[in-house]
Amino acid sequence: MAYLYSNPEQQQEMLRAIGVPSMSTLLQQVPDELQLKRPLDLPRPLQELELEQHVKRLAGRNRADRVCFLGGGAYDHYVPAVVDEVTGRGEFYTAYTPYQPEASQGSLQAFFEFQSLICALTGMDVSNASLYEGGTAVSEAVFMTMRVTGRHGKVAISEAIHPEYRQIIETYLRDHGTEIVSLPIQDGKTDVSAAAGLVDDQCSCVVFQHPNVFGCLEDTSELSELAHKHGSMSVVSFDPISLGLLQRPADYGADIAVAEGQSLGIPLQYGGPYLGILACRQEFVRKMPGRLITQTTDRDGRVCYALGLQTREQHIRRDKATSNICTNQGLLALRATVYLSLLGPQGIREAAELSLRKAHYAAQQLCQIPGIELMFSTPFFKEFTLKVTGRSVSSVIEAAAQTGFDIGPELSRFPKIPSVAQDGILLAVTESRTRDEIDGLVAALTE
């Protein structure tokens, strides 16, 4: 049997040491009437070779071979080999939560460095050691603003955040009686003047995404000011790669900055595991969800690292904890740490700038095609929304696919975003795309 050790003689010896005649005595701890009297109905076991053949056959039915212009919150950024090599070490991936700091200084220091790098990236004062992914990070931030402000009745959320993030917030808030105020969209970004009439002194937060779900840039300072004018907190969901170029959340007054960290060296793997990032201003540190790693000293005065501020957490505070999260995304935080170490200030700037330039080139070329235009005139970063007239969105996707390109997702894959037509389609362009690929896509869509 796979992965087991003891042979029948050893098993007998062990049973004798236990003082029972057979395994069935141990199994009698489960009352007989509750025991399953038949084998589980599962497929037959496969040896390693068969398993690999089986999985390869199924993997072959997934189309990951086409040139990827897919976006919508998960992007085909390049992952340097060092990220895989380092995080593929068993010393990292077969360890667990660093409950014993003496036996976990490697992970602890790496997570402390993750926190430090996220602070450097965002300009925020403090970062936690990761959450599940970008959508739940927004929900955790919303809960956090309620704890900080004491306002539990109302939150203001831009309609231009990722529609799935909004769904998650709705799921998390449903049984709390909290009203969600929707801030409407004008030309692909949050309508600040309309928002001014909707945000009031009862809102715990104003939540927006920058660049938003359409790829467009928001009026970040105005939205933060609007929040602060009402004593609410400004919460931004940002794109980590964009911070190689764009203003940092701290620059425009964000109180909490959250992100989907998938772009930071994490493979697409059909949607997860990814990385939730949450950083905030120093004054809110004790209201933060999730693990925090602190630097401290040991008995001999050596600098070292340990889990910190654990009294916020579920294993101590139980129903009064700042979150129910326990297992987080350690290995993905490590991937992001290695990735940011490799890129450095110049590398992340190059990744951001190439993505921006290529996306704009692609948009410009695509919009030369009759019947294809940008849905919005608002500036965008690496992703944009196209509107197609004279043919269906699905026929455009099909035409691209036929020639070896994936574009999307189409807005109709999301729940309806108010005041935005559902016939738009997203396209994301990262540094990984070449001019030839972009030109090829343009040719494919030219009728």
Binding site: V86, Y96, G106, F112, T171, Y270, D298, P345
Partner: protein, 487 residues
Amino acid sequence: MRNTISTQSLFELSSPGRRAARFPENDLPDVALDSLIPAKTLAATPPQLPELAEGDVVRHFVNLSTKNMCVDTHFYPLGSCTMKYNPKRHERLARLHGIGDLHPYQRPENSQGMLEMLFELQEMLGEIAGLPAVSLQPAAGAQGEFAALLTAAAYFRDRGEKRTKVLFPSSAHGTNPASAAIAGFECVQLNRSKSGFVDLDELRANVDGSTAVFMITNPNTLGLFERQIAEIAQIVHDVGGLVYIDGANMNAILGITRPGDFGGDMMHYNVHKTFTGPHGAGGPGAGPIAVRSFLADYLPGPIVTKDAAGSFQLSTPAKSVGRVRTFFGNVGILMRGYFYLRTLGAQGLRDVSEHALLNANYLKARLKDVLPVPNGEHCMHEFVASAKSLKDQRGITALDLCKRLLDYGFHAPTVYFPLVVPEALMIEPTETESKETLDAFVDALKKIVTEDSDLLHAAPHTTPVRRPDEVSAAKNPILKWSACTKD
């Protein structure tokens, strides 16, 4: 032999102008950036990340990795965490082209292989649980709890029932009350215990028409199977409530008994525990939930369905509580669970649990003179020993033993949980350890208890650091690197 230069902080290793990753030259016409986006949106300077060469980065992290204990290097009997061997084949297969690089918005007709595996995983998890309806969405066990509690709330709301309370025993994992609170329920903790088991009278006295869910871990956190689980479920069902099984300890009962057969209505799995995730130094996990058919319509989605033509689709149940996360789920971990179940099959899974019981009971029997176990004659896959007499007689605490074990090359058990056992050491050897390893662990503990108590208070002695000061760290926490915090 230790390289202490490369394990300095990344920021200390930084040197201006040093580079690792570089990207190709821009292959497009060079246009001014501010002709593409407004200048006011740009940062004045790039982020102040450290500047390192590729060799710096590799040596830094590889040297850091050697400061960890892990399953690949050490016996890691961390109770409740199921630190079993993580098969290497899973790592290779999870990275395959078509799996590791599949975009979450790839359309279903282009993801049929992925959806087939996920569908099959749903089916297998439903069968193992005896609870047929499965959602793979939750990112970890705690999110599974939360998602299942929302599912219960939606079910009751649909029936027009106002049920506000979630009950759990005092030995419950901290996530149970935390998840209940976030799901909007009032928490009621049951504090009485009869030899480590739920006190039925106390349960009866606390359930009524306001009871939504009773959450219970079975085997419980003492490693004991709640023999009265059927009566417990009956008491909860009699008042119209639902029974939630925290699946943290599923490694004990695979193919032996099923939550759905002993009265559970809902449960979560920890794929990173039972189905050997791996644990990733603190995640990622995956926390799929399985529920009875009458709750299926309320599950979070999307889930995978199979149509009459045999093709697989993503769909959201009719009265779904909604999404609990973006995209489908922690697919990379779910895939590893799938590979594991396809490797083991029915008999293999049962063998896992039987060997987990054998190893735990063997260890318990061999340690009984040194570290007695207050509750239960036998145990399931883990047991909770007590160092109380060592503490009373010689001042040696459970923590001292844990720290000293590190010197002997063993990771420590879970300590001081559950709270119902004084000086608790929760030991879970798992099935993937040999008798020789267990014997060596016993020998080490037997030797340790004969050692001078001051030596133990000062342990560990061979690790890179010893006993970090967590008290002052909590008062004035240093949470990021800055030039003034360097040593």
